[in-house]
């Protein structure tokens, strides 16, 4: 028991990831807003709003307003069709500077929801008389626990607990393999070669899982199964290099020689991986779609807010631990096999 406490810890962390990661609801938000008229100035217009996880009917003290250059225009009527569909009537408005309006809808349950650049107008005139108002928002924020609502990501945000830790686990296992390759070359002890080999094999499983989860996520958010992105290419090439490592191992029958040659190649491949994943994406950072690159905000900024953060760290630790758990089992199988072959 004393030696296996980390396995129990790992199972707990993964259960937390699975249950909390999949069951914690997403915060309410506004997905689309459609205006009945192209121009906001020619007459009163109606805006149809589609929300997600919202409570347009259940929420009390509800209201809505449009925002243009810091000036608020309240809706004259608020008709909730159901909890996620809403129709709003607005008086004619002339935009102050930009022809784009943000929409804000509020009630007791959801708090204040804001959709940036919700509707635009074809009007070219600016200024004029704008019917301003001071909306009476009772509750600014909803108080129950939920993941943040982000455009484009929506529910796929939960993939954060599965896609990102796969790469962390792969890199952790590869680093462990690299360290053991070095240890092997120091004393030519075949024990370290077995360790390195099984660590690489396990890391490949996680790499493939990372590619699958990433591909699914890319389809949902970027619209394609595979996009041309430095990080994708870098990881794909790393996987190729380590697949080549397994081919190389199978090509050499002699144990000692195989261990030496594959250790040398593995060290080579690891250094190249550092260059591919760590250095090159930073140089051409402008053309990566991943957060933290090319003007996209990093996880540390606002994407990873305080509700996501603890689950994210738990999932990373949990997946790394299960990666090492799988690796120890594989190593034990290999040891038993070699023992009986002798």
């Amino acid at each position: 028991m004393k030696r296996n406490w980390w396995k129990i810890f790992c199972v707990c962390l993964l259960f937390l990831t699975l249950f909390a990661g999949l069951l914690v609801p997403l915060a309410p938000g506004l997905i689309t807003a459609e205006s009945s008229a192209k121009s906001t100035f020619s007459g009163p217009f109606t805006v149809k709003v589609f929300g997600y996880n919202t409570h347009f009917i259940d929420g009390k003290n509800a209201g809505a307003y449009l925002i243009n250059n810091g000036v608020n225009v309240c809706a004259t009527s608020f008709r909730a069709i159901d909890n996620t569909h809403l129709e709003l009537d607005f008086p004619p408005i002339t935009p102050l500077a930009e022809p784009v309006f943000s929409l804000s809808v509020y009630n007791d349950v959801d708090g204040k929801l804001i959709m940036p650049s919700a509707i635009s107008t074809t009007d070219t005139t600016r200024g004029g008389i704008v019917p301003t108002c001071r909306p009476d928002v009772k509750v600014e924020k909803q108080d129950h626990f939920a993941f943040p609502f982000r455009y484009i990501l929506y529910e796929s945000m939960r993939n954060l607990f599965f896609h990102v830790p796969m790469w962390f686990t792969m890199i952790a296992l590869l680093t462990w393999a690299f360290w053991n390759n070095l240890r092997f070359l120091k004393g030519f002890n075949l024990k370290y070669d077995q360790i390195a080999n099984e660590a690489v094999n396990t890391s490949l499983v996680f790499g493939i899982l990372g590619l699958i989860t990433g591909s699914l996520w890319a389809r949902v958010t970027w619209g394609a199964w595979w996009v041309d992105d430095v990080k994708l290419n870098g990881t794909a090439i790393t996987m190729l290099a380590y697949l080549a490592f397994t081919v190389l191992r199978n090509a050499i029958p002699d144990e000692q020689k195989r261990a030496r040659v594959s250790a040398v190649y593995s060290i080579f491949a690891f250094v190249m991986m550092i260059v591919l994943i760590g250095i090159l994406p930073r140089l051409q950072g402008t053309d990566s779609l991943h957060p933290g690159n090319g003007g996209n905000p990093a996880f540390s900024n606002y994407d990873l807010d305080s509700t996501l953060r603890p689950f994210f760290y738990a999932s990373v630790l949990g997946w790394i631990l299960i990666g090492f758990w799988i690796y120890t089992i594989r190593l034990r199988i290999l040891k038993i096999k070699t023992h009986y072959e002798k």
Binding site: A244, A251, F268
Partner: protein
């Protein structure tokens, strides 16, 4: 100092060997020429700079695989062992590296001549392009020499060489292609410096790694 003398005489030996069977060298040149002809007949004239660039570097990549793969495979096991006892094994590796660098730079520039003669030459900043060609070819030679040493330890040498080599040289190739793109667009040096830095750093990293790891590799 002794290492240096050993390297010099071993490089001389490599050149002498090459002179003795010239067909291998001219075969390599012919390989480049025929690949360029294939490119010529499939594309006619290439005006699109990225395509020109990619094709040129892919031809060089394959030339490097075929050219450098010989360096360890052509020697019999006994002769290699004899060399390792005569000189420092690292000297053997370094001499092969230097010889392959000379070979690849020659192949690169002659390949460029044939390629631009047949397919077109869209480069505007010549010095930048030649620098990138120089360091790109050096890098290819250095990396493939090490890979050849690894692959020669296993049977089924040639395909293994490609499988092992391509992922390893890819960062190098990407940096070279990026630099050539800068040169083709006629951009100034300032923007290209970071890629040039990466290219030179990769050259240094790969050769240092090879130098450090070869002592573990050569023993049978």
């Amino acid at each position: 100092m002794q290492l240096l003398f050993q390297i010099i005489s071993l490089v001389k030996r490599e050149i002498l060997l090459e002179q003795r069977n010239k067909y291998a060298f001219w075969g390599l040149i012919l390989f480049v020429v025929s690949t360029v002809f294939v490119a010529k007949f499939s594309f006619q004239v290439i005006r699109d700079i990225p395509v020109w660039n990619a094709l040129f570097w892919i031809i060089l990549l394959f030339a490097a695989v075929t050219g450098v793969a010989r360096s360890f495979a052509q020697e019999s096991r006994g002769r290699l062992l004899y060399l390792y006892t005569l000189a420092d094994p690292r000297a053997v590796l370094l001499s092969k590296m230097i010889y392959n660098i000379l070979l690849m730079v020659f192949l690169g520039f002659s390949g460029l001549f044939i390629f631009s003669f047949l397919v077109g030459y869209p480069i505007q900043n010549n010095t930048l392009f030649f620098t990138s060609l120089l360091f790109g070819c050096t890098g290819l030679a250095v990396a493939f020499t090490m890979i050849a040493a690894i692959a020669s330890k296993a049977s089924n040498n040639f395909s293994l060489m490609a499988i092992l080599g391509f992922p390893v040289v890819l960062p190098l190739l990407l940096a070279s292609i990026k630099l050539s793109k800068y040169a083709a667009d006629g951009l100034e040096w300032s923007g290209a410096f970071k890629y040039l830095g990466v290219l030179i750093a990769l050259n240094i990293v790969i050769s240092t790694l090879a130098y450090m790891l070869f002592p573990y590799l050569w023993r049978d």
